[in-house]
């Protein structure tokens, strides 16, 4: 969860919230999950490769206006999460430009509760301060965050004692309660229970009606159809199609089905 201070900016429907222009993103990552000096020294002279260059996004263009919910679909490795991280400034681009016209709040899949030894309250405070909020701003929102997350006294317990649902509830609550201009959600709704999912979806619709801009990544195609006004389909770092949710999701589902069949045939 990322918190940023509230802005005085009052967005209007149709005005640009995010403009992604010719976005290319390349990064170098390690092949070993835990690279060590010992392994590097031991394999000296063997010509082993330790890193690989990933071209995660390639010339992606995307405008997101206020008052809209953009869904992003795509298979694993399509570059969906990388794009969310680029828009939120976590992973700056290698090429192109991203313009953001408002305060962003992110709810990305892995970010909730960064220090499990600390309580939910402390994690919210630290996350908020890292995101640029003041203590006062966080304190002003804290009761609302705790209420929406329905954690009760558990908000004071270390986050390592939380279930995955509790993590998800707190993360979502933090991200939406600060009234962001632009909200980025990456697969965050998948872990909550049915009651919280419903509550979250209603909140998203409320934000949409309130002229905020939302970008959500989800493998839940039903959710995408239900809440998005537009869908972008990414594949291997490239924007394949963009348009009306049902048309794009149908095309994507067809692609997945064909892809699977082809794979099965190949195996045979």
């Amino acid at each position: 969860m990322t918190l940023q201070s509230e802005s005085d900016f009052s967005p209007k429907t149709g005005e640009l919230a995010v403009s992604v222009q010719h976005l290319g993103l390349t990064y170098t990552t390690t092949i070993d999950r835990r690279p060590t000096l010992k392994a590097r020294v031991r394999s000296l002279g063997r010509g082993a490769k330790f890193t690989r260059v990933v071209r995660a996004l390639d010339d992606v263009n995307l405008d997101v206006p206020y008052g809209s919910v953009l869904g992003i679909v795509g298979a694993n490795g399509a570059g969906k999460s990388t794009m969310m991280r680029a828009i939120s400034g976590i992973l700056p681009p290698s090429q192109g430009r991203i313009e953001v016209y408002g305060k962003v709040s992110t709810l990305l899949a892995l970010g909730v509760g960064f220090n499990p030894s600390l309580s939910g309250r402390e994690n919210v405070l630290l996350g908020g301060l890292a995101g640029g909020m003041t203590r006062k701003e966080i304190a002003a929102h804290f009761e609302e965050i705790a209420d929406f997350a329905e954690l009760g006294d558990a908000i004071e317990a270390p986050m390592r004692t939380y279930s995955s649902g509790m993590f998800a509830r707190l993360g979502f609550s933090v991200a939406v309660t600060v009234r962001p201009d632009i909200l980025l959600i990456d697969e965050a709704l998948s872990t909550g229970d049915a009651h919280f999912k419903e509550k979250s979806l209603n909140k998203i619709k409320e934000l949409r009606g309130d002229n905020r801009a939302l970008i959500m990544v989800s493998h839940g195609l039903g959710t995408i159809r239900e809440v998005c006004n537009e869908v972008a389909w990414l594949h291997k770092g490239q924007l394949i199609q963009r348009g009306e949710p049902n048309a794009i999701v149908d095309a994507y589902e067809k692609f997945l089905h064909v892809g699977k069949s082809a794979a099965i045939n190949e195996d045979i």
Binding site: M1, T2, S7, F9, E15, L16, S19, Y27, T28, T29, T30, R34, P35, T36, L37, K38, R40, V54, R85, A86, I87, S88, G89, I90, L91, P92, P93, S94, Q95, G96, R97, I98, E99, V100, Y101, G102, K103, V104, T106, L108, L110, G111, V112, G113, F114, N115, S117, L118, E122, L125, L126, G127, L129, A130, G131, G132, T134, R135
Partner: protein, 277 residues
């Protein structure tokens, strides 16, 4: 078209560095994160309780007790100055050591925050340094207590200890930043640190004074940044003397150099942290 200017614009880094003005602005805006993070870490280790704070005093006291046993009782050396020198330098050395070991873990430990939040990553090793500083300050109380018991003379020259501590603090911050970044690339650096730290302790004028070193060995010590810092520190707060200007200048050069190199190394690589932690 929008009438307003974008709040944020993200473009490729120039020469591998983020836009420094914006970076500094973001860092300044989030400065309370550094102290809050340090506070929460200390809370996690129970250093914010009464017994935790007592431990911050007892721990260095025990450490100095061990060396008292070694130098005064077992070796039969009743030189008060030597014992005071050892205690003062050992405490300053642990400040540097804690900055290094805390810094090494800092970026990896903040992995989830790095994956989810845009903020200057350098705040993480800075927090580790603040923790080391908070642990260092009570050891000074212990030192002045020991110094009083030993009956060493007090004087205005002891105030030279402040710039020396600032130089060493800058050096410790540079090390914390440098090692935090290196640890992302080689996760076992933290495992080598205790061996490195122990060797460094023996190679620095902590268990002995500079005047006890053979002139031949002194030339090697020029390669050791802690040499001039420890010498200046001991002269100021143990001997109540003005440190050599040469020691101060060498110490300052090492400190600024380490901070600049560490910061440059960190900033040119922090973009990758989100895909490497």
């Amino acid at each position: 078209m929008n009438k307003t200017a974008p709040v944020e614009v993200y473009e490729p880094f120039k020469a591998g560095l983020p836009p420094l003005k914006r970076y500094w602005r973001m860092l300044w805006k989030r400065r309370s994160f550094i102290t809050e993070y340090a506070r929460s870490e200390l809370h996690e280790k129970h250093f914010d309780t009464v017994f935790g704070q007592v431990w911050l005093i007892i721990n260095p006291l025990l450490l100095s007790g061990v060396y008292f046993l070694l130098i005064v009782i077992i070796a039969g050396n009743s030189d008060k100055m030597r014992y005071a020198h050892l205690t003062a330098c050992l405490f300053l050395y642990y400040f540097v050591n804690h900055s290094m070991s805390g810094g090494a873990k800092s970026v990896i430990k903040g992995g989830k925050l790095i994956l989810n939040t845009a903020f200057p990553r350098i705040m993480l090793p800075m927090s580790a340094w603040v923790i080391a500083l908070i642990r260092f300050l009570p050891t000074m109380i212990v030192f002045f207590f020991i110094r009083s018991i030993l009956g060493l003379p007090w004087g205005w020259n002891m105030l030279w200890g402040i710039p020396v501590a600032m130089i060493t603090g800058t050096f410790a911050l540079g090390l914390s930043i440098l090692i935090s970044c290196a640890n992302v690339y080689f996760r076992d650096i933290g495992s080598f640190l205790p061996y490195f730290a122990r060797t460094w302790l023996y190679l620095s004028p902590i268990l002995y004074e500079v005047k006890n070193l053979k002139p031949k060995l002194r030339s090697f010590e020029l390669l050791n940044p802690l040499y001039s810092m420890m010498d200046a520190w001991s002269r100021a707060i143990v001997h109540n003397q003005v440190p050599h200007l040469e020691s101060l200048l060498k110490g300052a050069a090492w400190a600024l150099g380490t901070l600049l190199v560490g910061t440059y190394f960190f900033l040119t690589r922090e973009r990758d942290f989100a895909v490497r932690v």
